[in-house]
């Protein structure tokens, strides 16, 4: 088998493996807010978990409605100190509040996954899995007074071997409008999907599948990355991180975020959470033309009553830069000899665009990646050679609201891995979503490797949020 064929087969197998085993996807519809404001999911979601422009403003405002007034909050908060204590700080503890009810919500997800892939011999393997439930998510979300908010998600997922796994997918605390003009300076600390991916990380997409070509690419390989990896690979774009982030909205339409992060993965020795001491850096800046302001401002804008519609264009530039020195990955050369490889530094730069025209929302992201890879002796760890490898990936997704009950999405993904012997990966994802009720969603989703008609997944998914 020549290098090209081996690489291609590896790619397909990895994709096939992903399709079968990466069924669990984070949910992000938070009925705790429905209870607090006594309002429907569709106030903030065009179809959960995808946010509409108002929901995006609510999120960026730290879970406060744009221009929120006391009477809009139907579930009165529990005072942890009279407002007057603010004047007496630090002699007295600064006042705060608790959500009126326990701020919890549940999502459950049932999935029937029909998946086709290949085994090592090229033989087609077909599975039809009832994953009932595939996962259950316990959310905690709310505000603590005017300047703090929190979001957490604990996911219980059923594993193929019958066991279960529990993970804290998100746990973060935000400081809202810490100083300066409202919405301009906010801080976030915890484990979360960075605002770097606002609008295209899976927790903000209407599809069941995330964009694996962005987030699951493995840049490690003897001649550079060859494709996707479920876990254990190097860093492409870490979908969630442990980070400290600053973000905000200026002049209603300019969004920015900067952060220092540590990707989530295998920890270091001696019980360390991070596998090396280096920290990554990321930044993004966006501008939104037309439509509702990113903070919910609608001054001078005529918006239709259908809250998923607007005419707007949001464009953003982002970058993620990191250092993976001292983190070793086991690889083999084409002859099968073992080596270690380090991703000593890496750079990701990208552009994001989101166009709303009536019922249509076009989302696109393109990323260029560059990795400095250090090949090391498997026994001594001594560096044998180093090289810079690059890859490119992009996706384009069209979401369309036929009527609020029926919505469709089509996505094309393209990944040119760094290893030149491996073919460009192309995938197509088609989704039909039906809101049986505002908080019950049915999805039929088809995901296909465009190089191989037998490498696909058809998923029927039921999600309920309550």
């Amino acid at each position: 088998m020549n290098g090209f064929k081996r690489g291609t087969t590896t790619l397909f197998l990895l994709l096939g493996g992903l399709v079968v085993f990466l069924g669990a996807r984070p949910a992000a519809a938070v009925p705790a807010f429905s209870r607090k404001y006594q309002t429907s999911c569709q106030t903030c979601h065009s179809i959960f978990p995808k946010l509409n422009p108002f929901g995006e403003a609510f999120r960026l405002n730290g879970y406060h409605l744009p221009g929120e007034t006391e009477e809009q909050v139907k579930q009165k908060a529990v005072s942890l100190g009279a407002d007057a204590y603010a004047r007496m700080w630090p002699e007295m503890v600064y006042p705060s509040s608790l959500p009126g009810n326990a701020p919890f919500a549940l999502n459950v997800k049932m999935a029937n996954i029909y998946a086709s892939s290949h085994d090592d011999t090229g033989k087609q393997i077909v599975h039809n899995d009832f994953q009932f439930p595939q996962e259950a998510n316990l959310f905690g979300a709310g505000t603590l007074g005017d300047h703090f908010s929190f979001f957490s998600e604990v996911t219980y997922a059923e594993n193929p071997d019958g066991s279960g796994s529990v993970e804290i997918e998100h746990a973060r605390l935000d400081v809202i409008s810490a100083f300066g003009p409202e919405h301009l300076v906010n801080f976030r600390i915890g484990k979360f999907a960075p605002n770097l991916y606002d609008g295209f990380q899976e927790m903000w997409l209407m599809t069941d599948n995330g964009v694996d070509t962005l987030f699951a690419y493995n840049p490690i390989g003897f001649n550079g990355g060859t494709g996707l990896a479920d876990s254990g690979g190097g860093v492409s774009l870490p979908a969630r991180t442990r980070a400290i982030e600053m973000y905000g909205v200026a002049a209603h339409r300019l969004f920015y975020t900067v952060g220092i992060s540590a990707p989530i993965g295998a920890g270091g020795p001696n019980g360390q959470f991070n596998n090396n001491s280096s920290k990554d850096f990321y930044a993004r800046v966006d501008y939104k033309f037309g439509g509702m302001g990113l903070d919910g401002d609608s001054t001078g804008v005529t918006l239709p009553p259908e809250n998923w519609r607007e005419t707007s264009f949001r464009v953003g530039l982002f970058g993620y830069f990191g250092n993976g020195t001292d983190v070793n990955y086991a690889i083999t050369d084409p002859a099968g000899n073992p080596f270690q490889m380090q991703q000593t530094s890496f750079r990701r730069t990208g552009v994001y665009g989101s166009l709303y025209v009536g019922d249509l929302n076009l989302i696109g992201v393109a990323v260029h990646g560059s990795d400095d890879l250090s090949l090391r002796d498997n026994d001594t760890g001594e560096e044998l050679s180093s090289a810079t490898r690059t890859y490119d990936t992009f996706f384009l997704q069209a979401d369309y609201v036929i009527v609020p009950t029926f919505q469709v999405s089509a996505r094309y993904e393209n990944l040119r891995p760094a290893d030149p012997s491996v073919d460009t990966q192309k995938a197509f994802n088609l989704n039909l979503s039906v809101l049986a009720r505002a908080n019950i969603k049915l999805m039929l989703e088809y995901h296909r490797d465009l190089h191989d008609a037998q490498n696909y997944q058809l998923a029927a998914v039921l999600r309920a949020a309550f």
């Binding site: 007034t69 006391e70 009477e71 005072s79 942890l80 100190g81 009279a82 007057a84 204590y85 007496m88």
Partner: protein, 193 residues
């Protein structure tokens, strides 16, 4: 002639001025309801009012001050009754109320404080229970009231004349306007954050 004039002036002084009322509605924007706004007549030039002998009262029951907002005439003594089975404290961080602190006392006991100066408003707090909060609004005239939840109010016994009517709310910006009272007179207000 001079005697008639003196007689007429004496009679005019002896007769009470016609008393009317100020009524209307305060619309409070951005809060749950329009209650708890204090509407009062501001200081009247050359006119002072004796402090009432009768004490006003604020109860502490079920870990809440009641009433939440209490307007009083300057010089009024307010009695604070602890009606709970737990210890309570009352203090104010506001200079216009001398930052008083009445200490801590048990159920059934009363401690008092006299609001000697105009104070809009004195925040009342309890160090034992940080969430407890109330307000005493010490104003220079006896013409005051607190709005109902629908914002309606009526200040009775206001002599005919021209006044500055002021509105204060615990969470909203205060406002004021000139009001001429001639019998029953209407005045509406709108306040917001």
């Amino acid at each position: 002639m001079k005697g008639i004039l003196v007689l007429a002036l004496s009679a005019a002084v002896a007769l009470p001025l016609a008393a009317g009322d100020i009524h209307g509605k305060v619309t409070c924007k951005g809060v749950r309801d329009s209650g708890d706004a204090v509407v009062y007549v501001g200081a009247i030039a050359g006119k002072t009012f004796p402090a009432p002998a009768q004490h006003a009262k604020i109860d502490q029951k079920n870990l809440v001050f009641w009433p939440h907002v209490l307007p009083v005439l300057v010089g009024t003594t307010v009695d604070f009754l602890n009606n709970d089975a737990v210890l309570h404290n009352v203090f104010s961080p506001d200079g216009c109320a001398e930052k008083f602190n009445l200490g801590t006392w048990p159920k059934g006991e009363i401690r008092s404080y006299t609001f000697k100066k105009e104070c809009v408003a004195a925040t009342l707090l309890c160090k034992v229970h940080p969430e407890m909060e109330a307000f005493v609004v010490s104003v220079p005239t006896p013409y005051f009231t607190v709005t109902k939840p629908d914002g309606s109010f009526k200040i009775e016994g206001v002599p005919d004349g021209s006044y500055t009517v002021k509105v204060w709310h615990p969470k909203l910006k205060p406002t004021q306007k000139a009001v001429t009272v001639a019998g029953s007179s209407a005045a509406d207000f709108e306040i917001a954050k």
